[in-house]
């Protein structure tokens, strides 16, 4: 197996893909958002519960490639306990770093879909 694919689809990565973190629905979420990637049909729904300006619970569900799904697992882990202000400051590079695998140029969009959904949720929340 070539090194590169080993690098991308690592054991840890595949483990998260098979057993996603925070997968599901939050019935009493304060923030709900969804978006899809028109190129590949990846789709993510995001549910966040806020208490005292902090993320107390987060869930996501959807359908997509391994990169978008693992990215969603890791991002939802990452944002637990964050304030709204902190959520607003999450940069794309931060999400790519969370993945800890080399994401090729054509797959960046997959990796960033969860962030796009999060930003959409924040926009609605601010309004």
């Amino acid at each position: 197996m070539s090194e590169e694919v080993n690098d991308l689809y690592t054991e840890i990565f595949m483990e998260i893909y098979s057993n996603p973190h925070n997968f599901g629905v939050l019935e009493d979420a304060d923030l709900i958002s969804e978006d899809s990637n028109p190129l590949c049909g990846d789709k993510i729904n995001l549910y966040i519960k806020i208490k005292d300006n902090k993320v107390v619970e987060v869930k996501y569900n959807g359908k997509g490639c391994a990169i978008s799904m693992v990215s969603a697992s890791l991002l939802t882990d990452h944002i637990k306990g964050m304030s709204i202000e902190q959520l607003k400051e999450i940069k794309p590079e931060e999400v790519i770093d969370l993945l800890k695998v080399p994401v090729g140029a054509s797959r960046i969009k997959c990796a960033l879909l969860p962030l796009v959904v999060l930003r959409k949720a924040l926009k609605v929340y601010s309004n």
């Binding site: 070539s2 694919v5 595949m14 590949c40 990846d42 490639c65 391994a66």
Partner: protein
């Protein structure tokens, strides 16, 4: 034609001998775009090095030479598809522009103040769906269904009635590889007085086609899927039909006389070629046609059948791989999914072996929905692919299964 003949041909395609990430390129995305042989690249070089000038207007030698080459190419295209005359060949950017031209121009004529139906099929590429949607609500779009094997359900023929104004249909599916029976459809459509348009983007590069055998009224295709550069395509139409259509774009070259508040139109095909068109493109396309004809379209068809047989055996052999498009007669396009693995992951893993395949919805979302998937991986072959390259599909499938534990 023996194996050596086909292997030697590869020397004409410089791009195919490249390596990416230390792996030999295995180019299996020919339904998206094909590669250019040296004679085509050289024709473009020669044009820009020695013949480049604007056409139809310059009264000097260089412009006359450029014009002559451009028009010679039109004659070559006309005879390649069995058109009655070069005037029936309109140069466009590609099949997409050809369809947009027709939707806009025919649309103005047929649906401005009148209602009617347009018959399409679930096999269509977005380029043969979206331009027609622009004509709603006066035009009602009706879709022929697709069966599980990827072929059309021909019961749709009964729904072509005298309110059907246009039947626009693919000549070969870019997903299921089926070749719809155009003649059969044309006959029924004409019986009901409808115009028949064929999207030949996936047909013309792979089969010997004569528009008279298709019995259609219009045909569009793209140069870049048949060894020519991008940005050049063809709209063929029966001369009297082209003459009856209003222009698509206004500008230079498409007019006879321009006054402040009205203009008159040039003759066909110039009426549809506004502005300075792609001049080198047709010259490249003409050279590509020469190249294809030198090999022989029948031989190309045979070669693709040979390669397809090898691919088909792989898809029959590999478990948990679903192939979409299983008709007996089919082209060299293989759309598939492996277990529940997303096609983008499949494509990334294939890429790690040097294999370039396509992943996504293939600009055919209604067809994806028909098969209850959001995307598919797709390997598409051309005559310059080799048996060992086709065998690499199996390597790719095995690797995906290993990584994703399918």
């Amino acid at each position: 034609m023996n194996e050596d003949f086909w292997l030697n041909l590869r020397n004409d395609f410089p791009i195919l001998s490249q390596e990416f990430k230390g792996k030999k390129l295995v180019y299996l995305d020919n339904a998206a775009t094909s590669q250019l042989p040296k004679p085509v690249i050289e024709a473009l070089m020669d044009f820009y090095s020695t013949k480049n000038a604007n056409i139809h207007r310059g009264v000097y030698s260089l412009s006359e030479i450029a014009t002559e080459q451009y028009e010679k190419s039109r004659s070559n295209v006309a005879s390649f598809i069995g058109a009655n005359s070069p005037e029936e060949i309109v140069y466009v950017r590609g099949a997409t522009e050809g369809l947009n031209l027709l939707a806009s121009s025919l649309g103005k004529t047929m649906f401005k103040d009148k209602k009617g139906k347009i018959m399409l099929t679930m096999l269509e590429h977005h380029s043969n769906i979206v331009p027609w949607q622009f004509l709603q609500p006066n035009a009602e779009l009706i879709y022929a269904d697709v069966k599980e094997d990827g072929d059309l359900d021909y019961s749709f023929l009964d729904y072509i009635d005298n309110e059907t104004k246009i039947v626009s249909i693919t000549g070969a599916s870019n997903v299921t590889a089926v070749f719809p029976d155009i003649k059969r459809i044309s006959r029924k459509a004409h019986e009901m007085g409808a115009i028949v348009i064929v999207d030949g983007a996936q047909l013309i590069p792979h089969k010997a086609v004569n528009v008279k055998d298709l019995e259609c009224d219009f045909l569009v295709f793209s140069g870049h899927k048949m060894l020519a550069p991008t940005g050049i395509g063809v709209l063929w139409g029966k001369k009297e039909l082209l003459e009856s259509l209003p222009p698509y774009m206004g500008g230079g070259d498409m007019i006879k006389e321009v006054h402040l508040h009205e203009s008159t139109w040039n003759n066909v095909p110039y009426k549809f070629e506004a502005g300075t068109t792609n001049i080198a493109g047709p010259i490249g396309l003409s050279k590509a046609i020469d190249y294809l004809q030198k090999i022989g379209m029948k031989n190309i068809e045979e070669r693709e059948k040979q390669l397809s047989k090898v691919a088909m055996e792989i898809f029959n052999r590999e478990e948990d791989v679903k192939l979409y498009g299983t008709t007996k007669e089919r082209g060299a396009i293989f759309s598939f999914n492996i277990g529940k693995v997303h096609s983008h992951d499949v494509s990334t893993i294939f890429d790690s072996l040097g294999i370039a395949i396509r992943a996504g919805h293939h600009c055919a979302q209604p067809l994806m929905e028909r098969f209850n998937v959001t995307s598919m991986a797709r390997a598409s072959l051309y005559f310059y692919n080799t048996v060992s390259e086709v065998m690499m599909i199996e390597e790719g499938i095995k690797k995906v299964k290993k990584v994703f534990k399918v």
